[in-house]
Amino acid sequence: MKRNKIFLIVFTVGIFLLSSLSCWAEEPVIIGLQAPITGDYAIEGQMAKQCVEIAAELINQEGGINGRPVEIIIADDGSNPKDSALAAQKLISQKVVAVIGSYGSSVTEPAADLFERNKMVSVGYGCTAVRLTMSKDRKYFFRTCGRDDSQGQFFAKFAVEAMGWKRIAIMHDNQTYGKGVAEETLKYLEPYLQEGKAEVVYYDAVTPKEKDYSAAITKLRETQPDVWYYTAYYPEAGLLVRQGREAGITIPFVGSNAVPNDDFVKIAGIEYAKGTLMTQEPMPQDIDTPISKVFLEAYRAKFGDIPSSPWPIYAADGLFALVQAIKNANSTQSEDITNAMRSMTNAEGVTGKILFTERGDRKDIPYAMYEYNDEGKLQIYQP
């Protein structure tokens, strides 16, 4: 009986040793993904996870990083800044090589600080607030998405010059991202305001996570604007469009780039979502690069449809950029990776060439005006 037990233990330990031996042959490069898998922005986190998985598969098919496969570890930041620090801490303690993440600007900030302190490269994929790269010198922080000031500039020009909207209403949610876009928009509207070409008739914030915005909507309606620009996230945007239309507001609703995704259409209802406009980076289906076709095909084959928002694509690009930087540096030391990220010119992602500025921002991101059509899908807006 006793001998049996000893045999069993030896046998089990042996199996474990054998199985780990086979892994030693090619030690994987472990990259962390910090994303909102649960919480209010769960859909954006889940799609990011899927996109990064697909990107990792494509990279590994091509031979990984000099023969070493890429492996992804996921940390859920629950869409809030408090859990973001915990998620970041988890990745730091697991000693990942670098991190992709996260989605929201308010959520990314505490994590970026932690990664900075621990000298770990992190690449944001949906955090567009200007202050992330401009308020502090962050040596190890990058982002593959654009910045709010270029979006504000795009809206200001589009609204006044292309559409001739005179009375403009801007609504935000007092969070890092929402307030940021609103302030940048106001800044770029300033010259038009002075020329008397436009007027900001409403500029106010709503509280996120609430259900009833009827008070704010009634107030906005009274200012009789020509356009209603909402510069924050989709859960509130869906409710606002719905409650606004039900309260009899018929003017164009323009959402900023955190509004469009399938959950927005679901919350607003397709009857109210159709015809809403979005200031937006090119959507996955409108991207035409060498990688995009292969990537979107692989994504569609595995998950049925292509991602319904552009952000998860930037998460995949985060991985493509990191992998190229590690290849260029031929090292997994943060110091080498961060230098390689700044200087590299040969990184190709789903959205095209990935170039970073000295401060870690992505260069050359175009914006477009999108419209939801009758089927609840985004298409480029033709006025």
Binding site: A42, D204, R242
Partner: protein
């Protein structure tokens, strides 16, 4: 002036949700002296039950009974389901710890709240769910320049009807007298032959069931529901209960309605009031409590239910 009435109506609608949830808090507190933290999550549970019934067979209920009939059936099934859930919560989480005193009971209630919230997430997922649009009447009309949807009118009338029924049961029937007696002095009531278990059964069935129906109406009105929505409503309803006077039926109703109206008017008339309205409400609450520590209607000697 039209705007003022519209904001008032907005506030009344929000307030009637708060009031229905607050009723459950107040009833349970009256009899058990327990703040049932799981109450807000039972409200969310009700919302999901209604959602499932309406989605079931892609709107079969609506096809059979029509829009209004479908709503009635959905509300009725939700009422029964959430009532059963309320009784189970009491049996599982409160009855076993009741002899241990009040503090373990509060901890148990918090645990139950987390349990229900995560249970909803496990079953229905963490993403937003949307009530289908074809099951809700979408008619709207203008009334002296005020824009009103038919659904809003229904919600207001149905909430007031429910409140009136509860008021009648508790204040005018013999059983209501037993409930009030149990709230006033549990031991004496037991000695006089009142079956306390029946009373507890009653408040734990009816309180959550009211909240559950409010959850369904909430889902129909705002269309989007999420697993953690109960927390916010629970907190607001709890505030309403304190404002009106805890353990007091008319107090909970008035507290809820008042809270909704204050929120709406403050957000509508103060610059950036939307962002500051919760702060404003708590200032009002503190002032009321300084002036009347037992809430607006609550009196020390008042009968508590």
């Amino acid at each position: 002036m039209g705007i003022f009435f519209e904001q008032l109506l907005n506030g009344l609608t929000i307030g009637s949700f708060y009031a229905l949830v607050a009723l459950g808090y107040s009833m349970v507190y009256g009899v058990m002296k327990l703040i049932n933290f799981a109450h807000g999550d039972l409200f969310a549970f009700g919302s999901y039950v209604g959602y499932t019934i309406l989605i079931w067979g892609s709107g079969r209920i609506t096809q059979i009974f029509g829009i209004w009939g479908g709503m009635a059936v959905t509300l009725l099934i939700t009422f029964i389901t959430v009532a059963i859930a309320g009784i189970l919560v009491e049996k599982a989480a409160y009855r076993p710890v009741y002899p241990a005193g009040r503090l373990p009971l509060v901890v148990s209630a918090l645990g139950m709240s987390i349990f229900i919230q995560n249970g909803i997430m496990a079953v229905w997922g963490p993403r937003f769910q949307a009530y289908p649009s074809e099951v809700v009447p979408s008619a709207a009309f203008d009334f002296f320049g005020i824009h009103i949807t038919l659904l809003k009118v229904f919600i207001l009338f149905f909430s007031f009807f429910l409140m009136a029924v509860i008021y009648y049961i508790v204040e005018k029937t013999t059983f209501g007298a037993a409930v009030r007696a149990a709230a006033l002095d549990r031991e004496t009531a037991t000695m006089l032959g009142i079956d306390i278990r029946k009373v507890i059964f009653f408040v734990f069935a009816l309180g959550p069931a009211l909240g559950g129906m409010a959850g369904v109406m909430n889902g129909m009105y705002y269309r989007s529901i999420q697993f953690n929505m109960g927390w916010n409503y629970g907190l607001k309803a709890f505030t309403a209960t304190i404002l009106g006077g805890i353990g007091n039926i008319p107090g909970a109703m008035i507290g809820g309605l008042l809270l909704g109206i204050m929120e709406s008017l403050f957000a509508g008339y103060f610059p950036s009031g939307g962002a500051w309205k919760d702060g404003f409400i708590f200032i009002v609450l503190i002032l009321v409590l300084i002036w009347r520590p037992t809430g607006l209607i609550g009196e020390k000697i008042a009968e508590k239910v």
